[in-house]
Symmetry: C2
Subunit: 244 residues, 2 copies
């Protein structure tokens, strides 16, 4: 419980960026365990895998968020990523094939945009804590998943806002930034996260089934195997299961 006995609501309120995926669901459960009143925030950025927004709503409800808002921002107008533009999402046969270069699924400055919106929501609420499920292990190719970016953002946030300059600084919490997918899954299971409510696939079928071969599916599947936890994900039965 953060600052137990303190009546300042802003010390107990947090904004949680919730994507509908496995990582951010775990982060929400962690923030709840620490006693935060959690305001879940999802971003509708024109992603092709929009089913994640309804997953986010289900996760927020299941894990006891105070509320859940969806903010629309049209990153399609920016272009340049397979997640928002009409570019094929790459598929691979195994995690080993993914490679370490920045992938085409990278959305320019996405986490910066998301954190900025979360900060705006937090300042409007009077909340001083932001939680985000960034991960520097699986997403080592994404510059905006690294701890040095998070620290720089926090410093910027405290110069950008009324609360920051008035001596009520924001803290950006990234509790899973250095955890492997298996560690994240084990932590979430111990906190009662129902991963069957979450989705990770970048390229799901029309019925919502995961493709099993995009980077996100491969990392997720391997995580469940390594964690020794039964994978609740519903995978499609198309040829994609065998790689394409």
């Amino acid at each position: 419980m953060p600052n137990a006995g303190n009546n300042d609501e802003s010390d107990r309120s947090a904004v949680i960026l919730l994507s509908g995926g496995l990582d951010s669901a775990t982060v929400l459960a962690m923030a709840r365990r620490e006693g935060y009143a959690c305001h879940a925030l999802s971003i509708d950025y024109g992603q092709r895998h929009r089913g994640e927004l309804s997953c986010a709503a289900d996760v927020a409800r299941a894990l006891g968020a105070v509320d859940h808002r969806i903010i629309g921002v049209d990153l399609r107008a920016i272009g340049g990523s397979a997640l928002t533009a009409d570019i094929d999402v790459p598929h691979h046969g195994s995690v080993a094939e993914i490679g370490s270069a920045i992938p085409i699924t990278y959305v320019p400055a996405r986490n910066l945009v998301f954190l900025s919106l979360a900060l705006a929501r937090a300042e409007s609420l009077g909340a001083r804590h932001l939680f985000m499920g960034v991960n520097a292990v699986d997403y080592s190719g994404y510059p905006d998943c690294r701890p040095e970016f998070i620290r720089a953002f926090e410093a910027t946030a405290n110069l950008a806002t009324r609360a920051g300059v008035e001596g009520r600084p924001f803290t950006i919490h990234t509790p899973i930034i250095a955890m492997t997918k298996a560690e994240i899954i084990r932590a979430g299971v111990s906190l009662g996260v129902d991963y069957g409510l979450t989705t990770s696939c970048y390229d799901p079928a029309a019925d919502g089934a995961a493709c099993s071969a995009c980077d996100a599916c491969l990392l997720r599947r391997q995580g469940f195997v390594e964690a020794g936890v039964k994978d609740p994900t519903r995978y499609g039965t198309t040829s994609r299961e065998f790689g394409r």
Copy 2:
């Protein structure tokens, strides 16, 4: 001309945040004079004074921008400001009455959100220069108009992006940050800016006429008087002209 003789397009391309107001129009003219190929970007953030978006399109065309995009982001879902929520915009009789506290027209983290979107657009374009018309003189009550915020954002941008981490850093240009409104107007007139195309009013009438009594109108009017330049603004003929 930036790096004349250099064939690297990214050294000659810039993203300009264009609001439709006087300040950002001047900044676009300045960037054009310096030889940048200017990609204008406006943000449709649910502002009540939406006429500024069509003004931005006119300004972009008149000043020779390469293109002009509008990105939608629903800051109304965040709440907390007179510019996006159903809160009365304050009116004053003179500039002296405006006061120095952070005003209700402050939109939480707005410039951080705008710069993040401009950065995303720049990275997608391969541009390395961002221009923004923030001003620390007239808007001293807004934390996100101060030079220390801009420098912190620049550092964050270069940690958040592929270009930044790959040694092609971004530069955030804020050429009018320390200028008075009169100085901005004189600079713009010398560069051929038609301020009749711009709008500043936070609370325009249905026909687009400026209210003449919101903070933005008062600062603009006084700027033209001090610059000794004829004010092309069309003000309404309601009682607001006499303060309310």
